[in-house]
C-alpha cells in the first residue's frame, strides 16, 4: 500500500511524520465538524429514547402487561420494547448517516469533492464515514442504554450486551444507505426510502410486538427484512433466558450472518457508487 509515502514533505517540512490511514484522517475531520453539533446530538440521543420509552414502554406497557401481553411475553413490555428499540434506533441512525450527510457531501456541502483533491480516496472516505458511524452510534446506544436503565427497563449488564448487535445493525444500514444515496440524483429518493422502507421496518420488524402476531404471509416478509435480524439478535443477547415468541426461534448465527452479509454487500456497493460519482 502506498499510504506510507503519501505525505508531502515539502521544504521546511518536519522530519518523519506519523502517518495515519486516510480513513482515520476522515474520522478525525468528522470529529472536528461534530464539535459544532454536539449539543443537538446530545439532545436527540437522550430525547428520543426518553420519549419512546415513556410513551411505548411505560404508557402502552402498563396496558399490555395488565392485558394479554404478560401471557405472551417472558418479560415486562417496557423491557421487550427497550431491547428492540436498541436495534431499531441504530437502524434509524444508520440510515440517517448514510443518507443526508452523504447527499450533502456529494451535492450541497461538497466536502467529498474537496477531499478527493487530497490523498483520501473514495474507499477511504467510505471507511472513514463508517468508522465515524461506529463512534457516533456507540455514543447514541450508550445514551439509550443509560435512559433504559433509568426507566428500569434494562439491567446494566444486559443493556451493555445489546450495544454490539445494535451497532452491527446500524453500520449495516449506514453502508447500504450510503450506496443508495450515492446512486441518487436528488434527495426525494431519501425521503421516499425513509417513508416506504425505514418506517415500515421500524413498525413491523418485531420492535414493538413479536412478528408471530402478524398474519402468516407478513411474517415471512418480516423475517426477510434486515431490522428483524437486528432486533432479534439484540434481544437474544439482552434477554438470554427468553423463549419464543419473545425472541426468534432461529439460532443467533443466522441473524449475525444476515447482518454481516448486508454490511459487506452495502460496503461494496457504496464504494462502487462513490467511486463512480467522485472519479467522473
Amino acid at each position: 500500500m502506498s499510504v506510507a509515502s503519501d505525505v508531502g514533505t515539502g521544504p521546511g517540512g518536519p522530519g518523519p511524520t506519523r502517518r495515519r490511514h486516510p480513513a482515520v484522517r476522515v474520522l478525525a475531520a468528522e470529529i472536528i465538524g461534530f464539535r459544532r453539533n454536539w449539543r443537538g446530538w446530545i439532545m436527540s440521543s437522550l430525547g428520543n429514547p426518553i420519549a419512546f420509552l415513556a410513551a411505548m414502554g411505560v404508557g402502552l406497557g402498563s396496558l399490555v402487561d395488565s392485558g394479554g401481553g404478560s401471557a405472551t411475553l417472558d418479560v415486562e413490555y417496557v423491557t421487550f420494547v427497550a431491547s428492540g428499540l436498541l436495534a431499531a434506533s441504530a437502524m434509524q441512525n444508520g440510515f440517517g448517516e448514510g443518507a443526508w450527510p452523504v447527499m450533502a457531501g456529494l451535492k450541497w456541502r461538497r466536502n467529498f469533492e474537496a477531499m478527493m483533491a487530497t490523498p483520501v480516496r473514495p474507499r477511504d472516505l467510505l471507511a472513514g464515514r463508517l468508522l465515524w458511524g461506529v463512534v457516533n452510534f456507540t455514543g447514541n446506544l450508550v445514551a439509550f442504554a443509560v435512559v433504559a436503565m433509568l426507566f428500569g427497563a434494562l439491567e446494566p449488564g444486559p443493556a451493555l450486551m445489546g450495544i454490539l448487535p445494535a451497532l452491527l445493525t446500524g453500520i449495516a444500514f449506514e453502508a447500504v444507505a450510503t450506496g443508495y444515496t450515492a446512486s441518487l440524483g436528488s434527495d426525494t429518493g431519501l425521503t421516499n426510502a425513509y417513508r416506504f422502507a425505514i418506517m415500515p421496518l421500524f413498525l413491523f420488524s418485531g420492535t414493538f410486538f413479536p412478528i408471530a402476531q402478524l398474519p402468516g404471509v407478513l411474517q415471512a416478509v418480516a423475517v426477510a427484512t434486515p431490522l428483524y435480524h437486528g432486533v432479534e439478535l439484540t434481544r437474544k443477547l439482552v434477554l438470554p433466558g427468553a423463549a419464543p415468541p419473545t425472541v426468534s426461534a432461529m439460532p443467533a448465527w443466522v441473524h449475525v450472518g444476515y447482518l454481516v452479509v448486508m454490511l459487506a454487500a452495502g460496503w461494496w456497493w457504496a464504494a462502487r457508487r462513490l467511486r463512480g460519482r467522485l472519479y467522473a
Binding site: 508531502g8 484522517r25 475531520a29 459544532r36 474537496a114 483533491a117 487530497t118 472519479y279
Partner: protein, 312 residues
Amino acid sequence: MAPPAVVARGLTKRFGDLTAVDGIDVTVAAGETFAFLGANGAGKTSAMRMIATVSPVTDGELSVLGLDPHHDGQVIRSRLGVVPQEDNLDLELTVRENLLVYGLYHGLPRTVIAHRIDDLLAFAQLEDKADAEVDALSGGMKRRLTIARALINEPDLVILDEPTTGLDPQARHVLWDRLHELRSRGVTLLLTTHYMDEAEQLADRLVVMDHGRIIAEGSPTDLIVEHVTREVLEVRFGTARQAESSDRLVALDLPEVESVEQLAERAIVYTRDAEATLDALGDHGLVPRGHLTRRATLEDVFLRLTGRQLVD
C-alpha cells in the same frame, strides 16, 4: 533537475459521445506558470481534472510530477494543490478549521498544521478572519482561502481552475498578487482562464484551447507577434451601417492592413500602422463614428484563430 510537472501526449477525455478533451499535447516545466486559455466548454476543467488524478484518462498518455495518475494518484495528490473552478470550502467550518481539516486529510501532524495555518492565513491576508465562518467571507476572501487550503501540503504543483472568475477587479488584482508571490517562490502553477489579461499577467507560457483541441501555444508575446499585428484599430460605424461599411473596408484591401475581423458592433482591423489606416479610411469616405487604436492582446489572438470572442 526536476521532471516536468505535466507531460500529456494525445490526452483525451470522452463523456459518452462527447469528446471534451481531444488529443492534447502539453508539457509544463517545473517552476513554470502555464495557462490554458479558452472559452466556456473548451475542455479546460476536464483537462485539469485528469491532471488532478480525479478523472480517469480516456485515451493518450499523461504523467504528473513524473508519475502515472492511474497507479500513483495518491502520491501525486499528496504533492498537488487544487483550486477548483467552484469553491468547495466547508461552510459548516471556520476559516481555520477548513485549513486544519485539509491538513488532516494530507496526514500531516497537528503541530505542523498549526504552524502552516498561521503562515497561510498571513499569505492569504485572512488573519482577522481566522475564526470566522466561511459563509461570512467575501468572494475574493473565499477564493484566497481556497488557495491557502491548497497550499497546506506545500505542493510542488498548484492547479487553479479559473481562479478569478466572478471576482471584482480589485479582488482579482489582490489574487494575482498572491499568485505572483507563489510563482516567485518557485511553485509550478497551472491555471485556466477565459480572461486574456489574466493569461497575459501571469503566464510564462500558455495554450489556447478550443473545442477540446489546442490551437496555439507559446508565450503571450510570441502568440501576439505570431498571430496578430502589434497595433489594432477598432472602428464603429453605428449599427445600421456597420455590416456594409466594414464590407467596404475589407474590399479596400489597404496595403498596411493584415486582416479584419467583422463583429456586429465594430470591426477590428489588424494593421501595421493604425493612424495611417484611419487616414486612408477617411480618404475613401469611410469615416467611423468612433474609433480606438490599441495594442494587440491575447483576445485578438483568440478572435483571429477562432473567429469568436472569448467572453461574450
